[in-house]
């Protein structure tokens, strides 16, 4: 018999019972809610008279709808946003779960604060009614997004019923070239294997290039596992993980810490573990990557021309590409590096942590955003914001002409409030370039923090090397 993968081990440790048809009752260790989808779940449970079984293991944050401007209040730019905020606060209070409210010094984007506070840990199952919950798999947790009904299910029963996903390994061999980051790795993967390349699988990211990433880079990688269509992504815990977790507010301490570390050491795939699918990538071959279309799979190395739909075999794909080109206002063969931009956005659960801000600041240091470009930086959490300010990053961003905001999802998505402009071209560190995601018919190009910072300076799409060389 072959060995087990890290995911197999996680699954086995949480499987309460499995029916003949493979449907498994799985123990859920943490539930995180946010004000966008949280109130509806909590209210619906309350209406049904179903109590929350373990309120001490449930958490809630305000991140999606809150404004990120200084002096923000319950009354948001998004019409009716205040209704969501007040309803969530009321419901969280009534349910007795810890809420990271607007004015909480620990407030921030759920997938940033959960690891930051040690709420997500290696070896846990973590769910949230939010598709980017897979971000937290970076810790070696089984973390996945669910709908509101399933959030109710997990809160009321501490369980979910699931069919076991399959195992996939994506190995990034060797070292990354200088200036290439986790964001480029994941965009590259999706561009090569499609937005549903990971369908039905839990993807374990491994290989030297992944081992060499810090925890924050691993979070960026796992963040977009869902854009790869995967059930979730994870990185097996190692010394980097354990060092990261130690001492965080909700992390175990004392004897429990020792037991935990011992358990986490076993949470790696056995040498003879069998994966249903394996993808091998030479990390050294990855260049700074950017999207040109309206799906994360529409990505190319930034020095490559916009692809021609005619070169695509699959008719569905060809027509999607044509649609995307029209939407983005592009023609095949165009050099992306010549495209003027209207705005640059640094933030979101993909790239808003300290290391992301540092990498952008490195490019911005002593430089200015090009005239006519609106540039915004939104730290992922208030803790990230304070840490960045402590090392003077805010000064770099401000001096360059960036807005420096309070923590939240901000313009990662358009909910009717603040947004990027009509048909504006935006270069963004976020994870979705869907039609109208960042504003009415806004044209989004996804890229790494370094590429976004460089493009802001250049006033057009461009890689950091172009700026640093100058």
């Amino acid at each position: 018999m072959s060995g087990q993968t890290a995911f197999d081990k996680l699954w086995a440790a949480h499987a309460i019972s499995t029916d003949a048809d493979g449907s498994t009752l799985l123990l859920i260790d943490r539930v995180f809610l946010h004000e966008r989808t949280g109130a509806v779940a909590l209210e619906s449970l309350a209406t049904a008279g179903r109590p929350i079984l373990a309120p001490e293991q449930a958490f809630c944050t305000m991140d999606h709808i809150v404004d990120t401007t200084l002096g923000r209040s319950d009354d948001t730019r998004m019409p009716s946003g205040g209704e969501f905020i007040r309803a969530t606060r009321k419901a969280a209070l009534a349910a007795g779960i810890r809420l990271f409210d607007l004015d909480d010094p620990l407030q921030g984007i759920v997938h940033v604060i959960s690891p930051e506070l040690g709420i997500a840990l290696p070896g846990l199952t973590v769910v949230c009614p939010d598709s980017h919950t897979c971000t937290q798999g970076a810790l070696g947790a089984l973390a996945f997004g669910i709908g509101s009904s399933e959030a109710e299910h997990a809160l009321a029963t501490r369980c979910l019923r699931l069919q076991k996903p399959r195992n996939m390994r994506v190995a990034f061999h060797g070292a990354l070239a200088p200036g290439v980051s986790a964001k480029d790795m994941i965009l590259h993967l999706i561009s090569q294997h499609g937005a549903d390349g990971g369908r039905g699988h839990v993807v374990e990211f491994s290989g030297t290039a992944v081992q060499n990433l810090g925890m924050e880079g691993r979070m960026t990688l796992c963040n977009m596992a869902v854009e790869f269509g995967a059930f979730s992504g994870l990185v097996a815990p190692d010394d980097t993980t354990i060092k990261y977790v130690q001492g965080r507010p909700y992390a175990p301490r004392g004897p429990a810490w020792e037991t935990a570390v011992a358990a986490w050491r076993h949470l790696r795939s056995d040498d003879d573990a069998a994966f249903d699918q394996q993808i091998d990538i030479d990390a050294g071959s990855i260049a700074p990557t950017i999207t040109w279309g309206t799906s994360p799979q529409h990505a190319v190395a930034i020095d490559q021309p916009v692809p021609d739909p005619a070169s695509e075999q699959d008719p569905a794909r060809t027509s999607a590409m044509q649609r995307a080109l029209t939407y983005m206002g592009l023609t095949p063969g165009t050099d992306l590096r010549g495209l003027p931009i209207d705005a640059a956005f640094i933030g979101s659960c993909t790239n808003s942590r300290l290391s992301d801000l540092r990498s952008a600041a490195e490019v911005l240091q002593g430089r200015r955003v090009a005239p006519g470009v609106r540039a915004i930086c939104v730290p992922g959490s208030m803790s990230v914001k304070r840490a960045a300010e402590a090392e003077g990053l805010d000064t770099v961003f401000r001096a360059a002409g960036f807005e420096w905001r309070e923590a939240g999802c901000s313009m990662c998505f358009f909910a009717g409030g603040e947004s990027m402009g009509y048909r504006e071209r935006v270069v963004s560190t976020t994870n979705r370039n869907f039609e109208s995601r960042q504003g009415p018919e806004t044209r989004t190009h996804l890229a790494s923090p370094a590429t976004v910072a460089a493009s802001a300076v250049l006033g057009r799409l461009g890689a950091a090397a172009e700026v640093l060389r100058a």
């Binding site: 293991q57 709908g147 399933e150 029963t157 369980c159 369908r199 039905g200 507010p249 569905a316």
Partner: protein, 212 residues
């Protein structure tokens, strides 16, 4: 929950791949904390020519008179990818959609469908394209019938073909089961598991009195 047993209805082809939940229900259409009032926002970005006045886009498939009363969508691969918002399913349901046929689905979306009594039915892309062609000839008469009991799909006046739906989904839908209620029946075994698990993984449990 409304059970899904046999459903017959007008099918509309929307064969784009990667139709995401932002497209199904844009964020700006999710105005209240509830689950209702979402149908007018369904596919809003495509369905209306002018968002503010809600002037219908006559070209959009669901606005065309021949697809009036459509309750089945024929879709492209990876339908419902993206955001986990269950509002996408609530909007589809309120609009009257009962079944979506696609080569593949976003995983969270498919699960949300089942929790709300909608059937996400996987079929090979080729078969969907053929169905779409036949439907387009006369949508109101070339209706589709999905019989979950006998696991068959039939186009009006033609012979049936078998469909494959995993047994848990099938049971949940046929019986209109409430997933939470079902799990609560296993409370004893869950409690026993947790008691043992607490011994094995004390570090996984946050103390009641922790005040962090």
């Amino acid at each position: 929950m409304t059970p899904f047993t046999v459903h017959t209805g007008v099918a509309a082809p929307l064969l784009r791949e990667n139709v995401d939940t932002d497209a199904i229900i844009p964020s700006r259409e999710m105005r209240t904390t509830g689950k209702s009032g979402l149908a007018p926002g369904l596919f809003a970005g495509w369905r209306y020519q002018d968002q503010s006045t809600r002037t219908p886009n006559p070209d959009f498939i669901l606005n065309r008179p021949e697809y009036h009363d459509c309750s089945i969508l024929l879709a492209g691969s990876n339908f419902g990818c993206g955001s986990s918002r269950e509002h996408a399913v609530w909007a589809l349901k309120e609009f009257g959609i009962r079944c979506i046929i696609a080569p593949s689905f976003g995983a969270i979306f498919a699960n949300n469908c089942v929790r709300n009594g909608l059937l996400p039915l996987p079929l090979p892309a080729q078969e969907i394209a053929e169905l779409a062609d036949r439907v387009a000839q006369d949508p109101q008469h070339h209706r589709l019938q999905i019989d979950l009991k006998s696991a068959t799909l039939t186009m009006a006046g033609e012979c049936s073909r078998p469909i494959s739906v995993d047994s848990t989904t099938r049971r949940m839908l046929l019986e209109g089961l409430d997933a939470i209620g079902l799990t609560l029946q296993s409370t004893d075994s869950v409690q026993a598991f947790i008691t043992e698990d607490r011994r094995q993984r004390p570090w996984a449990y946050i103390a009641h009195d922790s005040n962090r």
